[in-house]
């Protein structure tokens, strides 16, 4: 459907040239691509939920548009070995007028583990936290089980709830159902909750007690519009002011439209190809004499050299991506500054490497890919297959709906698959721990390492970084680990997706690397 639908959006843009601008409204209407599953800020750790709860509730630590931590409800913090001290900002009030104290922070942290049936728990942000105490009304002390440099960045994921408003009879205080209805949904963020009609609209209004700069809009109305062409049409019709993720095919024309502004921002999501390096055999390569050629570094390098990343970005991704040379873009934390430019394609060298490795005639390979999970995912995979076939690796693709793809990936059906990873913390240890560190169920390591790459040297570097409290030293260790993994061609990064927003000319929204649409960063354009 996306073909004809995007064609229509194009027609819409042409038609739009003739309508007059709509009157300036002081309310902001935002079209979301996915509706949140809940208003409970501790129910489901998922972008559509988080971006709204971070507007209702402020956390102790915020991140700027490039994921650098900055003070929020905590004015300052310091770590002393395993003990972290957060100084709260004085005179902060919740939207109901009650003052914020350390008791609210303790309540919030305490509630996380008690929320029942969470499909994706916020407990990930409290790993290694032993206890949270109120030292005085404006000081919170958090003790970790070992020196843990990631605690401050993890606090970003835990917006502070009001102990008074959110207490209740259930173990977790106000239940998820009650919070969905707005009961106890009291935060100290720039906007406060008004109403939610599932599937239809969510309304927030200005929090008069906000501690920071006064919020720009009287009211913010979110409408979930999952179809991309319909989102663009709603923007062109003047129904909404700001839309997430307009279709990439229409971007060029949207940019030319005088009544609209398009904002793009490089994100922290890398699209990569994982290569099965588990054992001597692999399911997706039938004609390599029963061997797994992907164990050979020369083969992996050949696969990488065959990829023209620049062409993928400009032709398939419509320019809204940048070629990747590692799994997190420099200058994010722990990314190597030596890996900023993606390698140039070199099919001749790739063929020579294959010959050296003992595959002068190549082999055939099945590349797994989701269809509809990442921007243009299956199109990228098709192009990749053509590029690999050119050097003699006869590649066919196996594209599936995301649910089926993830099942196949998790049961190791693929020898090679395309997927993506968004580094929520903007920090390399998260990426490496998930994708390349040797899987270890008990320690929770290598959770998404389905290529089962294992390199003790890399494991050691990443483990070492986990306790390095000095940021500069930790960044250097992680950069070294990243260089090591890329020199080994442990997995092949393709590109970093860009996030795109389109809006009316009278709205200005600054894009964020975490792909979140937080309305506090939208203001009337001058």
């Amino acid at each position: 459907m996306s073909g004809p639908a995007s064609l229509l959006a194009a027609a819409a843009i042409a038609a739009c040239a003739s309508i007059s601008g709509t009157a300036m409204a002081r309310d902001l209407v935002v079209a979301l691509k996915t509706e949140p599953t809940s208003m409970d800020p501790q129910y489901h750790a998922l972008t559509p939920n988080i971006q709204l709860s971070q507007t209702l509730f402020d956390p102790l630590v915020c991140v700027d548009a490039d994921l650098k931590p900055e003070p929020c409800l905590a004015e300052s913090w310091k770590a002393d070995g395993k003990v972290w001290t957060f100084k709260l900002r004085p005179n902060v009030k919740f939207s109901d007028g009650t003052p914020l104290t350390s008791a609210d922070v303790v309540f919030t942290m305490d509630r996380v583990a008690k929320v029942p049936n969470s499909p994706s728990s916020f407990k990930v942000y409290l790993q290694k936290v032993d206890k949270v105490e109120a030292a005085d009304p404006l000081t919170v002390r958090i003790t970790t089980s070992e020196p843990y440099p990631l605690l401050a960045i993890n606090m970003v994921g835990l917006p502070i709830m009001s102990a008074k408003a959110a207490s209740g009879a259930a173990p977790e205080g106000k239940t998820t159902t009650e919070l969905n209805a707005g009961t106890g949904l009291v935060g100290s963020g720039p906007y406060k909750f008004v109403s939610w009609k599932r599937g239809s609209e969510i309304v927030f209004e200005r929090n008069p007690n906000y501690w920071g700069k006064a919020p720009a809009w009287d009211k913010v109305i979110y409408r979930p519009i999952s179809n991309p062409a319909a989102r663009v049409a709603a923007l062109l019709a003047g129904d909404v002011d700001l839309v997430e993720d307009p279709p990439t095919d229409d971007l060029e024309r949207l940019k030319k439209e005088p009544k609209l502004t398009v904002e793009t921002k490089a994100s922290n999501r890398v699209i990569y190809v994982a290569l099965d390096q588990n054992g001597e055999t692999t399911p997706g390569i039938p004609d390599a004499n029963g061997k797994n050629p992907l164990l050979d570094k020369r083969v992996r390098e050949a696969l990488s050299l065959a990829i023209d990343r620049q062409a993928l970005v400009s032709r398939i991704m419509g320019g809204v991506a940048s070629p990747a040379a590692q799994l997190l873009p420099y200058p994010m934390f722990g990314a190597s500054k030596n890996l900023t430019a993606a390698a140039k394609p070199n099919p001749d060298k790739a063929r020579a490497l294959l010959k050296d490795a003992g595959y002068p005639n190549g082999f055939s390979l099945v590349l797994g890919t989701p269809n509809g999970r990442y921007i243009n995912d299956s199109k990228v995979a098709q192009t990749l297959a053509a590029m690999w076939t050119r050097i003699g690796i006869k590649t066919s693709i196996d594209a599936n709906a995301p649910a089926v793809f993830f099942k196949n990936r998790d049961t190791f059906v693929y020898s090679a698959y395309l997927a993506g990873w968004g580094t929520a913390t903007g920090e390399m240890s998260n990426t490496l721990n998930a994708l390349l560190v040797t899987p270890n169920k008990d320690k929770g390591l290598g959770t998404t390492n389905r290529s089962r790459y294992s390199n003790p040297e890399l494991d050691k570097l990443v483990a070492e970084s986990a306790n390095q409290m000095d940021d500069a030293a930790r960044a250097a260790t992680l950069a070294k680990a990243s260089e090591l993994a890329m020199a080994e061609f442990a997995m092949l990064p393709l590109h970093f997706e860009h996030s795109v927003w389109a809006m009316k000319k009278d709205v200005s929204f600054k894009g964020r690397a975490d792909q979140q649409t937080m309305v506090q960063f939208a203001v009337p354009a001058k």
Binding site: S38, N117, V124, I225, A230, K441
Partner: protein, 325 residues
Amino acid sequence: MSAYIIRRLLQAVLVMAVMSGLVFVGLYVVGDPVAMMASAEATELERDEIRASFGLDKPLWQQYGIFMSHALRFDFGKSFLTGQSAMGLILDRMPATLELAVVAMGLSMGIGVPLGIWAGLRPQALSTRGIMAGSVLGFSLPNFWVGLMLIMVFAVYLGWLPASGRGATVNVGPLDLSVLTLDGWSRLLLPAVTIALAKGALIIRVTRAATREALPMDYIKFARAKGLGWSRILRVHLLKNIMIPIITVGGLEFGQVVAFAVVTETIFAWPGMGKLLLDSIITLDRPVVVAYLILIVFFLVVLNLAVDILYSVLDPRVRLQGAKA
């Protein structure tokens, strides 16, 4: 008559049980809901915990058994994704879909029947050719294309109507209805017309065929010979007799619109049940999918029953099977 109704309802229960089993197996084969829901950073242990909390760690037959034992008490479980009662989520959205379906079917009947009769009475007229050509377009154009075109023209180009969403609602008993407000109508019109174009085209063709069939009948000829006016012949003799096929098709189509207005609801961001079903299938939110299909089977059975009963009212010759039992 009541025995007939009871037998039909029992059949429905059987269909519901079989279908819920199929959905269980089907979604189980498709994939793992936890892989779709859990954050990518969740560890294996956390995933196991989620699995256990939803009972997904048990063998499938046990999961089905637990579901059935609850379903017998009308408890269809909680949505994995939202933690809310699955049936509650659906019932919340039902008024929006029903409203859209009723208005759309009302439009298609209101336009389709008169045009169909006209086309049946004047088979050779130029206007009839126009109507029939229009009806071919009506049901051969894809729904989403018509929807987007209407948005283009009326929302984007002319700016008369909003492009999407549902308007302000008024609370009538348990239902939130938007047909009672002007804003509601302005948002309801485009999606309703999108559906009505296709359904109306079908009604035109059915009505035309029925009319053509009825016209040469003796009772029409006799009525004319008696010297009755055309309008009376149409209203009393013709309309009554062509109503059976129209009601059959209209009833079936109404059921279709209620159950599967997914495409129209998606294009217009209409907060109905169809869109909920689609989202739930994609995220493998099994309780919602099962509850939805159970509700729809029940609804379709009741609808068919209503159509059958209407037959016997409209045509005294029709007797419901087992009516004597």
